[in-house]
């Protein structure tokens, strides 16, 4: 008998919470369609950073057999042949639309956990009158009317089942995008239709191991021997089993930004050879890390810089390295982060290598306002904070990168390729959508 403690749950009068997972259908493609209705019903794909590979597909593109992650150059002829529209990723647009969708959901219930750019968990336990399905349909209609982003909603008594219900909601048009798992009397046909490997929280290696134990689908997993699952997956596995039985073990985390680390990593469209260029890139990344830290009100105690060389060139050996600096004072000030990042990259740089990727990680995060004054702190911390805040304000209003430190480089040639980007319809005045008065 294992002793597992679960956190206190807010529950509805029936004793179980009602959790919904709302996710946007084909989110990136839907964002593009929201401002270009001609794309509706057509196959659309979105390309990754550097226009490298396909990271999002509309249903019509999926139906043509275009796989997720396919390198762009490989499928280009196929895209042209079938009239598939393709676009570089437009993150300013996607971020803004993601905020709008989350804001609509928050009008319906304050208990919203924004899980990723296109998924949110909601606690609907407090819905008066108890008509959760009508509530869900109203949410779906409102999101679509206000943002033109279609969403699917899965409802259950645990997050894991809500995620499964969301999958099911997408399977049949008749369901109209909403599926309530609580209404299911016989879960077996639903759960045996889903691969155990597709389950949230089950990685590839675990899925392989499960198959060797004869567990192929979620129904079999749900009924698996608890001791066996505990041995392989630990307490996380037991929680998963309980969640599959409808017992909620994962509370909603509606407080944003309690993160452990913040990172910014990028691959370079053309490998970097010179130290001065690498320093520019790392300085830019450190500045972005600073912005992320400040936006979630965190301070970092450690800063790690990571570089990796181009592994595909035959004449060079593999090289990757990282240097972690312990910061004298926990900070989110860009100038300071850049300073330490540059010192780290100087230690990492080896002449003769072609660097393909670099990253800056901030870790050991503590909440802002809680740093201890260091007697040996040499910086004019308060005025630097004020300057940094001012820079953030201006960059937010006038576009990222309006103000930057000289160390970041002016118009760097290594910036990522984005040849097919659509306008930033909701964040740049000179890129707003055009309507015809004809």
């Amino acid at each position: 008998m294992s002793s597992i403690r679960y956190e206190e749950e807010q529950t509805a009068p029936t004793g179980q919470p009602v959790i919904a997972l709302v996710d946007c259908n084909n989110f990136y493609a839907s964002c593009e369609r929201a401002f270009n209705p001609k794309l509706m019903g057509k196959p659309v794909v979105i390309l990754s950073n550097n226009d490298g590979c396909i990271i999002a597909r509309s249903d019509e593109a999926k139906a043509l057999g275009i796989a997720m992650g396919e390198p762009f150059f490989k499928v280009r002829h196929l895209l042209h042949r079938h009239g598939v529209r393709y676009f570089s990723s437009n993150y300013p647009l996607y971020a803004d639309m993601s905020h709008r969708v989350a804001a609509v959901l928050q009008r319906f219930t304050p208990e919203v956990e924004v899980y990723s750019i296109d998924e949110s968990f909601l606690d609907l336990s407090g819905v008066p009158g108890g008509d959760i399905n009508a509530h869900a349909r109203a949410m779906r209609r409102t999101v679509y009317q206000w943002t033109r982003i279609p969403v699917s909603i899965g409802i259950a008594t645990s997050k894991t089942l809500a995620k499964l219900a969301n999958k099911i909601a997408k399977k049949s048009l008749e369901l109209e995008g909403v599926f309530d798992f609580r209404t299911v009397e016989e879960p077996e046909p639903f759960l045996s239709d889903i691969d155990a490997g597709d389950l949230w929280g089950v990685g590839q290696r675990t899925a392989t191991w499960l198959r060797r134990q004869g567990i192929w689908n979620v129904w079999q997993l749900r009924n698996a021997d608890r001791a066996l699952i505990h041995r392989k997956m630990g307490i996380v596995g037991l929680r998963l089993l309980d969640e599959l039985h409808g017992v909620s073990c994962l509370p909603l985390d509606s407080l944003p930004g309690s993160r452990k680390a913040v990172a910014f990593t990028r691959s370079f469209s053309t490998p970097i050879e010179k130290l001065s260029d690498l320093k520019q890139a790392v300085a830019t990344f450190a500045a972005r890390v600073g912005e992320k830290l400040r936006s979630q009100n965190s301070l970092a105690q450690y800063l790690t810089v990571y570089v990796k060389n181009d592994q595909w060139r035959e004449e060079t050996k593999k090289y990757s390295g990282a240097v972690t600096a312990q910061l004298p004072v926990a900070t989110a000030i860009t100038a300071e982060l850049i300073h330490h990042a540059l010192r780290s990259v100087e230690q990492l740089y080896r002449h003769g290598y072609h660097y393909k990727k670099a990253g800056v990680f901030a870790s050991g995060l503590i909440p802002g306002g809680s740093y201890q004054q260091n007697l040996f702190d040499e910086l004019e911390r308060e005025s630097l904070c004020a300057l940094t805040n001012t820079m953030d304000d201006i960059n937010t209003r006038m576009g990222a990168g309006t103000l930057y430190y000289a160390a970041q480089g002016v118009d760097p040639w290594w910036k990522m390729k984005q040849k097919f980007r659509t306008p930033s319809y909701t964040t740049k005045w000179d890129e707003i959508a055009v309507v015809k008065a004809v």
């Binding site: 209705p37 001609k38 319906f108 219930t109 304000d393 309507v435 008065a437």
Partner: protein, 143 residues
């Protein structure tokens, strides 16, 4: 339905940025009589944006709506949370094109009117792909 209205991001944030605010020294004399009555400055968001989450800005190309005070190159504030009614100026999608028109609804009949003697009205046919994108609430015209 529990409408909480707890969190609505200001999609058009205005901020006032004091460039390197010098610290205020003590001993400046009498406090200002206006201190207790200071209000925040006029903010265009309050005037133009009723529901930031559902409000978008679009630019006009063409002059079929000059009679409604809408000219080429103007910016329109479009609110997608409003229910369009007959007589409203709307952004409508007709066969994939985003148009700005005055809406007339007569039972099942939908007509898209122009506001310019040189432009025709458009009757929306049975099988046509037509839907309302949003309702135009304000037009910003630069002189």
């Amino acid at each position: 339905m529990t409408v909480s209205g707890v969190f609505s991001p200001s999609c058009f944030s205005t901020s006032r940025y004091p460039l390197l605010d010098p610290p205020v020294k003590a001993g400046t004399g009498f406090p200002s009589p206006a201190q207790d009555f200071a209000e925040k400055s006029l903010d265009l968001n309050d005037l133009l944006v009723y529901n930031p989450v559902a409000t978008y800005c679009v630019r006009v190309q063409g002059d079929s709506m000059t009679g409604a005070g809408i000219h080429d190159r103007d910016i329109l504030m479009v609110d997608c949370s409003l229910e369009a009614r007959s007589g409203d100026v709307v952004v409508a999608v007709l066969d994939g094109e985003m148009l700005v028109k005055r809406l007339r609804v007569n039972g099942a009949h939908v007509t898209l009117l122009a506001e310019n003697p040189h432009c025709r009205a458009v009757e929306v046919g049975e099988g046509q792909d037509f839907w309302i994108w949003g309702v135009v609430t304000h037009v910003i015209h630069s002189l």
